[in-house]
Symmetry: C2
Subunit: 447 residues, 2 copies
């Protein structure tokens, strides 16, 4: 029904510009970087489009770790998808949960809502945390991939400090002040640095019984070094920066077990810790289940043609983290926001112009805009490819400028910039709110 | 244990300044306006003090309706109590839930934590929503008194719009676009105005199938007019302002029943509405249950002597919404932030100086700083008492300035001011996030 409405509205307002099939709109599943970029292009071209998302907001995932560590508020990095797309009259937004795709009748099936007919379908459902078969670890080691998990992590970190302040058992207190981050990729590196910057000033001034010397932050990585996707000298700079912040780095060792009380490492060592963060990997969202019999590649990604068409399907496209798309070097493109965004823009362009029958679109080409990881205040690493890199304060400044630029909306840019400036000067975190009452397992402080 | 620590630290750092008894600290229950003001005074005087709260943050309740209507984020109006009090070395903060007071042994009993000995005890537990015996209404009509309820209300309002956009049944759509606010006091007036200002611009631009003409906001008040605590001309100005915003005002009619599908009024009329907000009253927090056999006054408040001492108890004080304190005119002081704050400052002063045995403190005297209610952008009413009033844009500006001044911390003041400026200019709301998935009962949009 929403589809009919979208199409009807599109037909009225967009006139003959539509290349999306006779009457059914282009349907995009997912309002992340890729889906949104695609919807904007299609909207600007007047193509009838429906964007479906489970959430009413677009989330700026690269800054989620700052919500998990109380530097930013959820609303700073999340914006209503409707608001972003409101300027495009041919685009409508549906809050809904996709449960299947009927490729034969060209309909998207939604939970509790009427199916939605599509002319072309774009799957941009993104990725989810990957516990590599240890799904029971999720409870003990949340993974900062969405807002509820980020605020849960924030509550856990802050509750652990409260419980440590209330505890009189030195062993329990040490466990409550131990934070283990699993995974030495950008997520793990950024979380470890941000936790260190959150708790040390807080411990120094706001608590009475505990002090910063007791806190322990351990970053565990199974591979031989941090940041495998970055050049080795950058990874070393990052490791130095983290160590300056007081983070213990354990590389070359994998995790055997995660429980409510801590982490067991493969070498038999044990870290008692009330707070464990999972940053060890993601896999494609389970969109393959929507298409019975579809073939998947590594990480559950869907293999696509050079024009992002799903192999074996004519009207079905996949982009972003969900797509297994080969780069010019023959290697799969990484699951990065900039890849998704460029693919969304590409597909928006391709689907805005009618193609002659049998004609194929020029293949998608990824242009690397540089890849960054933040270590902490004043320290970041930037990799622009082809040996061009940047580290230290300059990289941090560039990162901050780029991320403010990438945020949607002047107001959000201004508010985030203002808060970063205040954090930078005061070293204080503004959003230290405990909103979830799921206490860390060791030593509940209150109820 | 925390008490011992607090006392020990106090004894070390504060030296002989303590007037709080031999060794046990002053214990304050509640980190609202009253408790916090008291802790600051005691901390500035070097008195060993422990502040207990169930939450880790002080909440600026008068702006909670702005969180419920997506104008501000939780972190804008909530600040860690530890942070606020960190500059006072003799003050410690305990995150905990009080379950009782043992006046004989002078100890506060906490859930899951060791009891806390006190020299003097100050109960500043505030107030809670009052459904006047209809507790089953709470589920259908949340009351914006704390952060979880405010964000729940925000989610409900936004989800109702989403469900209306997805609905094809005109009756269902009308119910989803109907918002009933029960109670014509400041809370009800501010909620009704803020809902109108949230949904009309959103409906005008961001949705495709529904439009502002369909939305209905009804404010129901059992009394003969709105804002009974304000002079009649101010209440009339407020009513005019609300009507200009499109709010229907129904005075002189009480609510008979609230269900998932709407509200039944006493005259037999029925309003089908997916979203109902309760703003019809508060009562004292159930702190009387901590003191077996204690006498309570109207609204569950605890009657206090002119020096805020609980009647019949020597070392026990009550302040703020929880206290039934008579003003100079012999009438009970209202449950307002400014009363609690002044009482907290008064008690902090009194307990900082040792009194000679048998000597009584000068009684508390309330100074009315003015009482305001916000109707919407550019419209507010201010009552300074003794016939001095202010309305319209000037009152709105004064209200905004006063509230920014009253916020804790330069950063928070700056961020809230910046957001208000942006809202004022753009008429857009920045924090339109659906974070709770408890859907309105009529017409679930997704899952």
């Amino acid at each position: 029904m929403a589809a009919q409405r979208g199409a009807a509205r599109g037909a009225t307002t967009a006139g003959a510009g539509s290349a999306a099939g006779a009457s059914a709109p282009v349907v995009i599943v997912g309002g992340g970087f890729g889906g949104l970029a695609c919807a904007r292009r299609l909207g600007a071209a007047g193509v009838p489009t429906v964007l479906i998302d489970r959430q009413n907001y677009h989330l700026f995932v690269p800054l989620l770790y700052q919500v998990a560590t109380a530097a930013l508020s959820p609303a700073d990095i999340a914006q209503p998808i409707r608001r972003i797309l409101s300027r495009y009259p041919t685009v409508s937004v549906v809050l809904g949960e996709v449960v299947g795709v009927d490729a034969a009748t060209k309909r998207v099936l939604l939970a509790g809502q009427a199916p939605l007919a599509y002319g072309k379908l774009i799957l941009a459902a993104g990725s989810v945390c990957n516990y590599f078969g240890h799904d029971s670890w999720a409870e003990h080691a949340p993974c900062p991939r969405d807002l509820p998990d980020a605020t849960l992590l924030r509550s856990r970190i802050l509750l652990a400090l409260e419980a440590a302040e209330a505890s009189k058992d030195p062993r329990e207190r040490a466990a409550l002040l131990s934070f283990v981050v699993v995974g030495g990729g950008p997520t793990g590196v950024e979380m470890a640095g941000a936790i260190a910057e959150l708790i040390r000033p807080a411990l120094r001034r706001d608590f009475r019984a505990i002090d910063p010397g007791l806190a322990r932050i351990v970053l565990v990585e199974a591979g031989s070094r941090l940041l495998a996707a970055f050049p080795e000298d950058l990874a070393e700079a990052a490791a130095c920066g983290l160590e300056e912040l007081g983070v213990e780095i354990r590389t070359g060792i994998s995790v055997r077990e995660i429980s409510a009380s801590g982490v067991d490492l493969a070498d038999g060592a044990r870290i008692d810790a009330a707070t464990v963060v999972w940053g060890a990997g993601t896999r494609a969202a389970p969109a393959a289940a929507w298409l019975p019999g579809i073939e998947t590649a590594a990480g559950g990604r869907l293999p696509v043609e050079p024009d992002l068409r799903l192999r074996g399907h004519d009207d079905l496209y996949v982009l972003g983290d969900l797509a297994m798309c080969l780069g010019e070097d023959g290697k799969p493109l990484p699951a990065l926001a900039q890849v998704a965004k460029q693919q969304g823009e590409y597909l928006g362009r391709v689907l805005s112009k009618p193609l002659a029958t049998g004609q194929a679109a020029a293949p998608f080409v990824f242009r690397n805009r540089g890849n960054a990881a933040i270590i902490g205040r004043n320290a970041a690493i930037f990799d622009f490819g082809k040996g061009r890199t940047l580290t230290g304060r300059k990289a941090w400044l560039l990162w901050a400028l780029v991320h403010i630029y990438l945020l949607n909306g002047l107001e959000r840019r201004f508010l985030v910039a203002a808060q970063w400036l205040v954090r930078y000067v005061t070293r204080q975190r503004g959003a230290r709110l405990i909103t979830a009452r799921r206490l860390p397992a060791a030593g509940p402080p209150g109820d």
